[in-house]
Every structure is written in structure tokens, then in C-alpha cells.
């Protein structure tokens, strides 16, 4: 069960990471590049501004560099550019209104996928457990049911070993008798 929980935690951690995902850390990148790497050139080239060498891209880079020199914040610089060129220059849409769908849906889908996969696997495991219970009716395969009913793997292995040892003892006693 602990391992199972670990699996689920892995999924949740991944989703949480995604939900609070920040842009990739920009090691060694100057502040201007940090801003321009999040913007798209509005001309037909459609490149990320940091790598764009067309006229519009170069002018946007200059605006960002001048803004930084003038002490403006990232928000102010990006806001000014958006008011000039429109929302289309944001490489990632602002997470508000209808745009929330594109931000939430991938993480929700991942989480949902994990949940469905987990429930599906549990159902298959349980179904087998039920089948085994019906067939075994308290015979030697009881321990399998015990495992499936939620005991830990170690407990399960110990129980199997104990059972095997008991049966061996019985056999030995029977032979001696």
C-alpha cells in the first residue's frame, strides 16, 4: 500500500509541479532575454523574440532593453508591448477567462488519467481477489486474498512463508507417523 501511495504521490507531485510551473530557469540569461524568451514576434516570422532577428523582433528587444535600463518592471514592459501589439505576442496566454482551459485541462487530464488508471488497476486486482476467494473458500490460497485485501508485501510474504513452513511440518509429521 505504501508503494501504491508513492505511485499516486508521484502523479500528484508531477501535476503540482506542472500547475505551479515557472518558466525554465534562465541560467546565465540576462533579464532582457528572460522577458524576450516569453514573447512572440507579431510579424509573419512568428519566432520567439529572443531568437528573432527580423525588424519587429529587434525593435521589441530594444524596447525591452530600454525598459530595463529605465528601471521598469517586467510587468510594465510586457504590458506596454501587449498594448502596442496585442495579446498575440504573449508566448503563453495569460491565465484568465477562457484561457484558463488551456492551462488547467492538461493537468486535469493527467490527474484524471492517473485516477482512472489506478481505479482500473484496483478493480482488476479486486476482481481477481474475489474470484480467488470464491474458488479457494478458505484453502491454501487465502494468503493471496490477504495480499490483495491490502496487507503489505512484506506481511504477505511472511504469511506465505509461515504457511509453507506449517505445511512442510505437517507433511514431515505425517511421514514420520
Amino acid at each position: 500500500m505504501r508503494l501504491l501511495r508513492a505511485f499516486i504521490a508521484l502523479g500528484l507531485v508531477a501535476t503540482a509541479m506542472a500547475a505551479f510551473a515557472a518558466p525554465l530557469p534562465a541560467k546565465g540569461k540576462d533579464p532582457a532575454q528572460e522577458i524576450t524568451s516569453q514573447l512572440i514576434c507579431p510579424c509573419s516570422c512568428g519566432e520567439v523574440v529572443s531568437g528573432c532577428i527580423c525588424e519587429t523582433g529587434m525593435s521589441m528587444k530594444a524596447t525591452v532593453e530600454n525598459g530595463i535600463k529605465a528601471g521598469k518592471s517586467k510587468k510594465e514592459i510586457v504590458g506596454a508591448l501587449v498594448s502596442q501589439y496585442g495579446e498575440v505576442i504573449r508566448g503563453a496566454p495569460k491565465p484568465e477567462g477562457f484561457n484558463l482551459i488551456v492551462w488547467i485541462a492538461p493537468f486535469a487530464a493527467t490527474l484524471l488519467g492517473f485516477t482512472i488508471a489506478w481505479l482500473f488497476l484496483r478493480r482488476l486486482v479486486r476482481r481477481r481477489g474475489e474470484r480467488v476467494t470464491a474458488a479457494a473458500h478458505g484453502d491454501v490460497r487465502q494468503e493471496t486474498v490477504a495480499f490483495l485485501s491490502g496487507r503489505s508485501l512484506e506481511e504477505d510474504r511472511d504469511s506465505l512463508r509461515a504457511r509453507a513452513e506449517a505445511e512442510l511440518r505437517q507433511m514431515k509429521q505425517g511421514r514420520e507417523a
Binding site: L3, L4, F7, L10, G11, A14, T15, M17, A18, A21, A22, P23, L24, P25, A26, K27, G28, K29, D30, Q33, I40, G46, E47, V48, S50, G51, C52, I53, M58, K61, E87, V88, I89, R90, G91, A92, P93, F98, N99, I101, V102, A105, P106, F107, A109, T110, G113, F114, I116, A117, W118, L121, L124, V125, R127, R128, L148, S152, L153, R157
Partner: protein, 652 residues
């Protein structure tokens, strides 16, 4: 000649319809004659398509400007080899290439199974022929490459300069070979459902076909990335461009299938899921073509004006509906033969890995199509580009990397605690050590650390698997270690081929990590003799020259590169002006070493005579290409396993 071209496509259309009708009749009545007739019709479609391609190629090479397609995509000064590859420069030619590869697949499929009398294979051919109807119809009635101009122009408009690159000569055919090939697995899946077939033989065959197409698609994607790196001149190789995303989506879902198919083969489980993945992979490859050819990405309005967009959408919807209906109708056939014994098992890990592959494909799909959706709903044009995908897809991909390490070392059916301890403690420990060692080198971000941990974790699990395999065969093996590794791989090519693919993926991940997180950039106007500093490099402009090549004029900057004060090389970043398109194109100068690339771009020459130079240090880019090549090697090894089996079958 254009009439002959048109006629060949019309006949191909008729033959495709005949093939479907004839095979359907044969399957219904059990008569072998109609089945034979259907098979011949599929061969004929291939022959007619080859004829159509030859006619169009002849026109392209002769620059016959009476053809509208030739006038739009070539010019008289275009080098001959680019005239040849202009076949896939435009919509009509690309569709013809699609049909050529599709019909070649149909024929290759029939050739491969020519000795099998089972009508199942005819049913597969029928599904392939259904797709042929769509493409031959599209090329005959909607988007013909053989349209003739009433007054031919003296010269053509020329080939898009972006496509005038050696990479573009092979990238599209290889990519299409991957894309189109998914029609065969789709045909298998639909045939199983149509004929209500049980058994697992087909699943091994479909795995092989899928692996083949998946390999080609992977190589195509890699070549596309290399082309973007060299030709587009923005400093990177993957921009999450819709065209790139279109090829990535079927690759992702196909990768998921290649994992979950193992569960079906070994345990007879997840049949519905596998058939769904096959169908989804094919539909996504169709959707990819739709995305790139319908104009839907430019805006919703251009989609409405597109002559093929609505047809493609209609076909995808019909195929999706038919596949869904068949899956639901044959629900009983797809019942699992076995039950799961424990969630913590290889089956369980594969299912979670499938969730992540599909989630990645979904995130990519949503991000790619969202601008159109948003424009349609809110009326505002927005962009969903690299900054979005990097935030959303990177964490999912990293989780996948961790599972790549976990999956192979979990045992089938049920992983016991002792197995888990034995297999996980060392990889996790070494992963932590790797992350800690990387910390002083500037690896501080959470993603960076997770990636380094994951890479070390996966590599350790793979090495352990090889070590265990060698250990198990120790009594039978003698000789040096490399020889033992080779013999181990030969004994189970499929399994160890898969591990080699995984190790290639780790190398690729490291390449992506290095080149995205640790990239450095500097730019500025330089006059003769002036220098630009970038990390340990000093870039000094020595002059600017102009010269003419066949169909373009080139402006080249001569830049001396010094590293840590020592002269390294003279580089020549250029800007080309193509006479026909009047478009400036960058010709990147690249100084590659295994650990980093120095990437130079000439932005232009300013009025004051200075040259605008943009420079990047891209660490570990070579890892991306090497990782890709290792993945290809692993795929070839995994594929050759079946070839050996087939030889054995024959000799038996």
C-alpha cells in the same frame, strides 16, 4: 502529359473504390476471386500513383511552366536537385507524396503477406484502400497537381528559400514514411474488429509495423529539428511550432502503444486500450496533415477558405466515428484474458506511462489548436507557443523519464518488496549523487535537478539490467565484456533494443536540458575589428563580403573566434537574398564540439556599415543528435529480432 497525370489519378480513385468493394464482397461471400481482384486493384493504385509522380517530376525538372504547380514552386534558376524535391514543396505535391507512400505501403503489405491465404489480410488491405479513396479523390477532384495555366508565365515564382536545404530533400519523405505507415496498424486493428478475430498473432505483426513507422517518424522529427537548427537561425532546434507538434503527437501516442502492446502480448490484457491507441495514432497522423495543410492554424477564416480543410476534417471525423463504433460493437472480443495481480507491477507502470504519453499528446494537441478555438470563441487572437509548452509539457516529460527507469525493473504480474528494494535503492542513490554533484555547476532549478536525477536513475537501472543478464548467462558465456554484451543483446534483441532506446532518450533529455537551461546569448552591432564577448569566447568582426550563387546573393560576415584568448576558427555567418522570393534568409555559422555549439547569426548589415551579430553558446546540443541516433540504433535492434524469427520460420 497533364491529361495523362489527371487520368492516372482518376483511375487510381476508381481502382481504390473497386478494391474496397471487391474485398468487401469477397469477405462477405467467402469467394477468393473478388479478394484476388481487390488485391490487384491495390497494386494498380500504386502503379498509377507512380505514373502520376513521374509525370509531375518530369514537369518539375523540365520547368514546364504551363503546370500551375510548377510555376508556383520552381523557377528556371532553381538547382536541379531542388526542382526534383519541389514535389513536396506545395499542398498538391505533398498530397501526391502521401498517396505514393500510402499506396506503396498497401502494395508492400500485400507483398509481405502474399503467401497467406487468410482473408484477414485482405480486410487490412481493404481498410488501407478506404484511405486511398480519400486521397485519390482529393487529388482528382479538389486539389489536383495537374492544373494547367491558360497563359504560362515565362518563369516560376521559385521555391521557398527555407526548403532549399539538403535536409529538406530527405526530411519530408522520411517523416511521411512514418506518418503514413500508421495506416497499416490501423488497418490491422479495424480488420480484427470487422472480422471479430481473436488471438495474439496479429498483435506481434502490428507491433512490428508500428515500430517500423515509429522509427521513421522519429528519424523524420530528428531531421526536422536538425533542419530548424541549421536553417531557421533562431538558436534552437525545437520551437513547439504547430508543424513540429503535428509530427510529435502521433509519435507520442505510438510510443505509448509500443509499451502497452507488451501487456497484451504477455498477459492478454488492455486490448481495448491498445486498439484505441492504434486508432488514435493514425487519426493524429491524419490530423497532423490536416493541421499543416488546411490553413486552420493561420486563422479560422483561412480554414474556411481552404479547399481541403473541410474534407480532411470530414474524413477524420468519419474514421474516428467508425473506429469508435467498431470498438464498442466488438466490446466482448476485447475482454481481458487475464486479471491483474498487483498494481505495483510492470503492467501497472506501463499503464501509468501510457497515461503520461497520452497526456503529453493531449497537452500538445490542446496547445496547438487553442489559438483557433480561442479566436472562434472570444474573437481575440492569442499565441500558444514555446513558453507555454515548456511550462506544461516539461514536468509531464520529466515524470515520464522517472517512469522510464522504474518500469523495466518492475517484474511482471507483481513486484515484491525485496525486488523493489534490490532494484531501486542503488539507482535512486546514484541519482541523488548525480543531482548533488551537479549542484555546484549551476544546476539549481527543480526541473534541472529532477532531470539529472532521472537520467542517472534510468542509466543505472539499464546498466543493472545488462549486468543481471550477463550474470544469468555467466555459465554459458566466456570472453571479454563487450562480447558478452553483444551476445546478450543478440539473445533478446527486442528487450535490449528497448533498453538502448531508453538510454538514447536519456542522452537526448540531457541534450535538451543543457541547450535550454544553460544557453547563453549575446548580440550587438560590430564594426570591423570590434569584438563581442560571450562566455569564454571573443568574436571579432574581420569584414563583410558579398557574392553571388546560382539563385541568391550572399552577404557574409567574417568573424574570428577566440576562446580564452586563443584563436579557434574563422566563421562565416551569412544572409542570403533569394532573387525570386526577395526573402532574406540566414545561413548560420556553427562551431560544434561534443560539449557545446557556438552558433552565429548575421542579422544584417546596418547603414553605418556595422554588422548585427547574434551569438549563442548552446551546451550539449550534440547530445540531442547522438541520443536520437542511439534511439534509432535501439529501434533497428528491436526490429531485427523479428527478422531473425522470420528467417527461422522460413528455414523450419
Amino acid at each position: 502529359m497533364s491529361e495523362l497525370g489527371r487520368l492516372s489519378l482518376l483511375l487510381a480513385f476508381a481502382c481504390s473504390i473497386f478494391a474496397v468493394g471487391s474485398i468487401a464482397w469477397g469477405l462477405r461471400t467467402g469467394l477468393s476471386g473478388p479478394l484476388r481482384g481487390g488485391r490487384r486493384a491495390v497494386w494498380t493504385v500504386c502503379g498509377l500513383t507512380v505514373l502520376a509522380v513521374i509525370i509531375l517530376e518530369r514537369a518539375l525538372l523540365a520547368r514546364d511552366m504551363s503546370y500551375r504547380y510548377v510555376a508556383e514552386h520552381t523557377s528556371r534558376d532553381l538547382p536541379l536537385h531542388y526542382a526534383f524535391t519541389s514535389l513536396w514543396a506545395g499542398q498538391e505535391g505533398s498530397l501526391l507524396l502521401w498517396l505514393l507512400i500510402l499506396s506503396a505501403y498497401g502494395s508492400a503489405f500485400l507483398f509481405a503477406y502474399r503467401k497467406r491465404l487468410d482473408p484477414f489480410y485482405d480486410a487490412v488491405a481493404m481498410v488501407i484502400a478506404c484511405v486511398m479513396i480519400f486521397f485519390t479523390g482529393l487529388l482528382s477532384f479538389v486539389s489536383s497537381p495537374f492544373r494547367i495555366l491558360a497563359t504560362p508565365p515565362p518563369d516560376g515564382m521559385g521555391l521557398n528559400p527555407l526548403l532549399q536545404d539538403p535536409g529538406m530533400m530527405i526530411h519530408p519523405p522520411i517523416l511521411y514514411t512514418g506518418y503514413v505507415g500508421f495506416v497499416v496498424p490501423f488497418g490491422f486493428a479495424m480488420a480484427v474488429l470487422l472480422l471479430n478475430r481473436s488471438g495474439t498473432r496479429w498483435i506481434e505483426e502490428v507491433r512490428r509495423w508500428t515500430l517500423f513507422c515509429w522509427g521513421f517518424l522519429g528519424v523524420g522529427i530528428l531531421l526536422g529539428a536538425r533542419w530548424a537548427y541549421i536553417e531557421l537561425g533562431w538558436g534552437g532546434y525545437w520551437g513547439w511550432d504547430p508543424v513540429e507538434n503535428a509530427s510529435l503527437m502521433p509519435w507520442l501516442v505510438g510510443t505509448g502503444f509500443l509499451h502497452s502492446v507488451m501487456i497484451e502480448q504477455r498477459r492478454g490484457m488492455l486490448k481495448t486500450w491498445n486498439i484505441t491507441l492504434i486508432a488514435l495514432t493514425f487519426l493524429l497522423s491524419m490530423f497532423g496533415t490536416f493541421l499543416t495543410r488546411s490553413g486552420v492554424l493561420t486563422s479560422v477564416h483561412s480554414f474556411a477558405e481552404s479547399n481541403i480543410g473541410p474534407w480532411f476534417l470530414g474524413f477524420i471525423l468519419i474514421a474516428a466515428t467508425a473506429a469508435t463504433a467498431l470498438i464498442l460493437y466488438r466490446k466482448a472480443l476485447l475482454e481481458s484474458e487475464n486479471r491483474m495481480e498487483a498494481v505495483v507491477s510492470r503492467e501497472g507502470s506501463f499503464l501509468f506511462n501510457n497515461v503520461l504519453f497520452v497526456a503529453l499528446a493531449f497537452a500538445t494537441f490542446l496547445g496547438t489548436t487553442f489559438p483557433v478555438l480561442s479566436e472562434a470563441v472570444t474573437g481575440t487572437k492569442i499565441s500558444v507557443s514555446a513558453p507555454f509548452f515548456n511550462r506544461v509539457n516539461v514536468p509531464i516529460a520529466l515524470t515520464l523519464l522517472l517512469l522510464t527507469g522504474a518500469g523495466p525493473v518492475l517484474s511482471w504480474k507483481r513486484a515484491t518488496a525485496s525486488v523493489l528494494k534490490r532494484n531501486f535503492i542503488l539507482p535512486a542513490f546514484l541519482g541523488l549523487v548525480a543531482a548533488l554533484v551537479a549542484l555546484p555547476f549551476g544546476a539549481t532549478g527543480i526541473y534541472t535537478l529532477v532531470c539529472i536525477f532521472g537520467a542517472a536513475f534510468v542509466v543505472t537501472t539499464i546498466v543493472m539490467e545488462f549486468a543481471r543478464g550477463i550474470q544469468a548467462r555467466k555459465s554459458a558465456e566466456t570472453g571479454a565484456l563487450p562480447g558478452q554484451v553483444v551476445r546478450l543483446v543478440e539473445k533478446n534483441k527486442r528487450r535490449y533494443g528497448g533498453y538502448i532506446v531508453h538510454s538514447g532518450m536519456v542522452v537526448l533529455f540531457l541534450g535538451v536540458l543543457g541547450s535550454s537551461v544553460f544557453q547563453k546569448e549575446a548580440h550587438g552591432p560590430l564594426r570591423n575589428g570590434e569584438s563581442l564577448k560571450l562566455g569564454p569566447y571573443a568574436l571579432t568582426l574581420r569584414g563583410v563580403t558579398d557574392h553571388q550563387k546560382q539563385n541568391a546573393s550572399l552577404t557574409t560576415a567574417i568573424v574570428d573566434v577566440q576562446r580564452d584568448g586563443k584563436f579557434l576558427a574563422t566563421e562565416h555567418p551569412s544572409k542570403a537574398f533569394y532573387s525570386k522570393s526577395q526573402q532574406p534568409m540566414t545561413e548560420v555559422a556553427l562551431h560544434s564540439t561534443p560539449m557545446e555549439d557556438l552558433y552565429l547569426i548575421l542579422g544584417g548589415v546596418n547603414e553605418d556599415g556595422s554588422a548585427s551579430i547574434q551569438a549563442y553558446i548552446n551546451p550539449l546540443v550534440s547530445f540531442v543528435w547522438v541520443g536520437g541516433l542511439i534511439m534509432v540504433l535501439g529501434t533497428l535492434i528491436a526490429l531485427s529480432d523479428k527478422m531473425r524469427l522470420r528467417r527461422e520460420e522460413k528455414s523450419a
